[in-house]
Subunit: 104 residues, 2 copies
């Protein structure tokens, strides 16, 4: 699943799946810790893969709404399965202080 690669796509997609249509700035606030550049890049990425749709609204300051597409919804079983796993095995935390992505 290279289409879900990167640090943020799962979180963004999860947020959009439970929240429906969400504007850029609201995503920036809801996805904790993400920078504008990353959010923009990840959204473009997922839009290119047709997982989400982008709609520009002609409001006072323009706003842009993002939404999971029908195609993106087909990923829900996977996202759900992962969420389920997370809940079930979160307690079995086998990570240690010198975590695997770094050196000894």
């Amino acid at each position: 699943m290279e289409i879900l690669s990167g640090k943020w796509k799962f979180h963004i997609l999860g947020t959009l799946m439970e929240g429906g249509k969400i504007r850029f700035m609201d995503l920036l606030r809801e996805v904790d810790g993400i920078a504008a550049k990353m959010l923009s890049k990840e959204l473009q990425d997922m839009e290119m893969n047709h997982l989400i749709s982008r709609t520009v609204l002609n409001t006072k300051p323009i706003t842009v709404e993002y939404e999971v597409t029908e195609y993106g919804r087909t990923l829900e079983p996977i996202i759900d399965e992962i969420a389920k796993w997370g809940e079930a095995y979160r307690n079995a935390m086998f990570k240690k202080q010198h975590d695997q992505t770094s050196e000894i």
Copy 2:
């Protein structure tokens, strides 16, 4: 799922799940395109996360067998769900020539 991050973990885990116990050199041959360094690193990573086990056998030239642990097996629903998705939506390839993560 940072524990399944990287280019190879899914492939290695999938191979081990269907193949049972597999030796290093056999994995190197079965996981197409992987370099020894990467295989070694990813196996260590997954061993640290208790997804697989490593067993040294005292054969003529020593051999090392890798196997999915009981804990690693708990990821099977996720792997299966992803495989299912891949089969169902492989045809809907929305990736274009100037693709963001790979080449053509």
